[in-house]
Amino acid sequence: MAQPGKRVGLLVTCLVDLIRPAVGFAAVKLLEDAGCTVEAPRQSCCGQPAFNSGDRASARALAEQVIATFECYDYVVVPSGSCGGQVRVHYPELFHGDPNWHPRAARFAAKTYELTSFLTDVLGINKINARYAGTATYHDSCSSLREMGVRAQPRRLLAGIEGLTLAELPDADVCCGFGGTFCVKYPDISNAIVSKKAEAVAATGAGTLLAGDLGCLMNIAGKLQRLGRRVTVRHVAEVLAGMADGPAIGEPEPKRAAP
């Protein structure tokens, strides 16, 4: 059900911006189809890498920047549970005890949503008209699951996609081993964890892996590809928006001119 007049600021996230803009455009399409007016103001990063590395001052500076940029919108939507969790859970924590910033951060957090949660919980959409042929499995990113309460929402939307069968991933709630800077600080441990995840994905027999966070997706896709497993990996927004016809994550482009 469309609710015209809602002004949504898209916090596109660093990884989508840099690595996979298609996810951002898929999010825009989903939101516009639902009647929202979408804007993507000039932005950089939500500050999570600094926050998780103990650099509170930089994290705060970036959080102030994000709040100042986006607080004019009715809603802020993020195609990532991780960056969404940073805003929703950790911004208020960052400004704890600050009489000026804390109320502002709390108000801001309250109108920030992960994409699939926004579509279902706020806009009340239960079915999207799109097609995707094949069996897919879904990985719950830790932040989506535990910070944003996202579990049923993407599954509900995927259930309505014509041609798509969802095969549940065993231990879908176990981290893929990405963990932001963790995967480069402790590469061997990260590798052990993502190897297990990649094998579990392959064992479902699904041809496609979907998730709502590009970090996890890049991690698992990279491992599947290194292992030579033929599973294509996409952000859930691409499938929902019916924009899953281009190359999947890490797959080569067909020979044609540059965009």
Binding site: V12, L18, G47, T181, S190
Partner: protein, 470 residues
């Protein structure tokens, strides 16, 4: 204890390459599924967790007064209370008590505090033979190892290793004795330890709870070893730290209702034993002396600060059972007595963040630990707090610091950031588009050693967006 936390990375690498260990870990921890089922069977479980958290918070906020009340009740029951600020003091008190009765052997129930203060080595140096009686603790004692899990100390071993150790240490064993199965191994251990129980001069246990209302110490076991340890010898010594205090028996009920369910998925552990003072004049058994050594070891200074909530911990082990990192590398890699997420927060408080800096960093902040903690300790938040301390004290690695500085310089300047990222993604696209991904990338060796890196799709989202909207 020998702290190897500074070598965490090497430890982890060795653990990942250790086929025996990986075989033990590959089964997965059965505790995970059993905890889930136990929680599902009790509709009030989540509310009980809130109750348990509140009891601990209340006790910690009034710890001085509950400790006073507890002290008075222990003395009234004929027990002796000893205070120790440091590990050295606690060790000395224990050895003094043992010396007074010319103790030769000491049986021990499972106590993490004894591990924390390195009691066994100290007893041995003083001519006293400590005998661990928890099966898992006994197995690691004869291997001279640290526990690899706080409730399953020998989870890293397999039965062949245990058989080899028994044949090495139990010199009475005939060669044809069948020790191939966990059942026969347990029977062998039971036989050997039964003699030790009956001949020990002193029994040392830990405490899961100290009850201020009655001056009671409580241990929780499944084997019954701690119970024999504290019943048979002439002297029972309880080693406990200050945060074990709880106000009343009613409070104990709430904590018991979450403890076993979180730890092993049992509704209740087999033995919960409450001890108050020494045996009474007409009692047919029980110790004639009852000592409690109350250790601080840095905990009192955690109260009221950023890490105070860690003192709620009831040592169930759920956080490590659910931790993907723990499941990948086992407990020894952490290089300290307390492994896993709870250790990642507690160890730096005990030994210093300069030595234990890796522990709170070796986390993906996936949040599973906090999700299952029976007393709702915000473990990821406190690991992050340790990272902040490290950052403030310039203890984080130089590469991390300079990388962060470089990145945040751009992130704080969105226009410049847009230019630089547009250039970077364009470049990466140019080099990567034909394959769609990179098998190797400069400055990203940590990533590409183990997995491919996707090539960007070309122009950044923001560049395309602006082009589209203008």
């Amino acid at each position: 204890m020998t702290l190897t936390s500074p070598q965490f990375k090497d430890n982890a690498r060795a653990a990942l390459a250790d086929a025996q260990l990986q075989r033990a870990l590959s089964k997965g921890l059965g505790f995970v599924e059993r905890r889930r089922l136990a929680a599902e069977r009790l509709p009030e479980f989540e509310a009980l967790r809130d109750g348990a958290r509140d009891i601990k918070n209340h006790t910690l906020a009034h710890l001085d007064l509950y400790l006073e009340a507890y002290e008075a009740r222990v003395i009234a029951a004929g027990g002796q209370l000893h205070f120790a600020v440091t590990a050295e003091e606690a060790r000395a008190i224990v050895v003094d008590i043992c010396r007074k009765v010319c103790a030769k052997t000491v049986t021990k129930g499972k106590t993490m505090i004894a591990e924390e203060i390195g009691l066994n080595d100290f007893l041995e140096q003083n001519g006293i033979q400590p005998v661990e009686t928890d099966l898992g603790e006994y197995l690691i004692q004869i291997r001279h190892e640290m526990p690899s899990h706080i409730i399953a100390p020998a989870i890293h071993l397999n039965k062949d290793q245990v058989e080899a150790d028994f044949r090495r240490v139990h010199s009475h064993l005939p060669k044809d004795r069948n020790l191939a199965e966990p059942q026969t191994l347990l029977t062998e251990a039971r036989g050997v330890l039964r003699e030790r129980f009956l001949s020990a001069d002193v029994g040392i246990t830990g405490a899961n709870f100290l009850v201020a209302e009655t001056g009671t110490s409580i241990i929780v076991t499944n084997e019954g070893n701690g119970d024999l340890t504290q019943t048979l010898p002439k002297i029972h010594i309880v080693l406990a730290t200050i945060e074990k205090l709880v106000p009343t028996l009613e409070d104990v009920s709430t904590l018991l209702r979450v403890l076993a369910r979180s730890a092993t998925g049992q509704d209740m552990s087999v033995y919960t034993t409450l001890s108050t003072g020494p045996r009474r004049p007409d009692d047919p058994d029980g110790p004639s002396e009852y000592h409690v050594v109350i250790l601080d070891n840095g905990r009192s200074s955690m109260l009221g600060g950023g890490f105070a909530e860690m003192l709620r911990c009831i040592r169930c082990g759920a956080c490590m059972n659910y931790c993907p990192v723990f499941n990948a590398i086992g407990g020894h890699a952490y290089g300290s007595v307390y492994p896993g997420p709870m250790g990642a927060v507690l160890t730096p408080a005990l030994v210093g963040i300069d030595k234990a800096g890796h522990l709170p960093n070796a986390s993906m902040f996936c949040g599973r630990c906090e999700e299952v903690c029976p007393v709702r300790i915000p473990l990821p938040r406190m690991m992050r707090a340790w990272r902040e301390r490290e950052f403030e004290r310039h203890l984080s690695p130089a590469t991390v610091r300079s990388g962060l500085k470089f990145w945040s310089f751009f992130a704080k300047r969105p226009a410049l950031y847009g230019l630089v990222t547009a250039l970077a993604s364009r470049l990466l696209w140019l080099f990567g588009r034909s394959a769609g991904r990179f098998r190797r990338l400069p400055f990203a060796g940590g990533w590409t050693r183990h997995r491919d890196f996707p090539a960007p799709q070309g122009a950044t989202f923001q560049a395309q967006w602006r082009r589209r909207r203008n």
